[in-house]
Amino acid sequence: MKVKYFAWVRERVGKAEETIEPPATVHTVAELIAWLSSRSEAYAYAFEKPKVIRAAIDRAHVKSDATITGAREIAFFPPMTGG
């Protein structure tokens, strides 16, 4: 699946998007964040406060307990500050 990062999540991870293949044990957004955090210090830094991170699956806001099954595109970003 494709993962996108925005704002300071993107800066900390060090890339804007990538394609990942999480193990089958990763079912939810929260589990995906935990798995990504285990990959490197950069990810661990980006997701150090998981409660602050917002997520979207296929361009719609989701909560951290949302399932990632069937997702084509998952995005992670800080709280929005537009307008």
Binding site: F6, A7, R59, P79, M80, G82, G83
Partner: protein, 159 residues
Amino acid sequence: MASPVTCSVTIRIQEDDFDIAREIALLTKSRTDIGAVVSFSGICRADEDSANIAALTLEHYPDMAEEEIRRHVDEAISRWPLNGVTVIHRVGRFMPGDNIVLVLTASQHRQAAFLAAEFLMDYLKTSAPFWKKEESEAGTGWVEAQARDDEAAARWTRS
């Protein structure tokens, strides 16, 4: 029987500046059923929390941003009798005084136009995937979300 209200919708995310007069003219042109037009323009300020802002950069999630705005415009249309809605959000790098966002609402009556414009602005602030980065004397950093914006958005929640 009153004929159903037809609401024209324009949503744009763009780097270029917008022209409020042109957008209002597009919304009201050759219509005589509109009694009230409210416009909100959000402008880059030089002073944010007493730091001196030199520039502001707006980043966004392109596809989602437009879909998210459209969802909220549809919600506004379902809540109030609107004749037209225009939302333009700029992205890129801005200087103090530059326009950032425009929300236009048109209705027969002023209350609907005011409420819909406030509703859309509250949701743009808290729910549309845009992020601001400030360059100031104190350095460069991402703007933090404001609790007051979440509170403003929460008042529209229907139980």
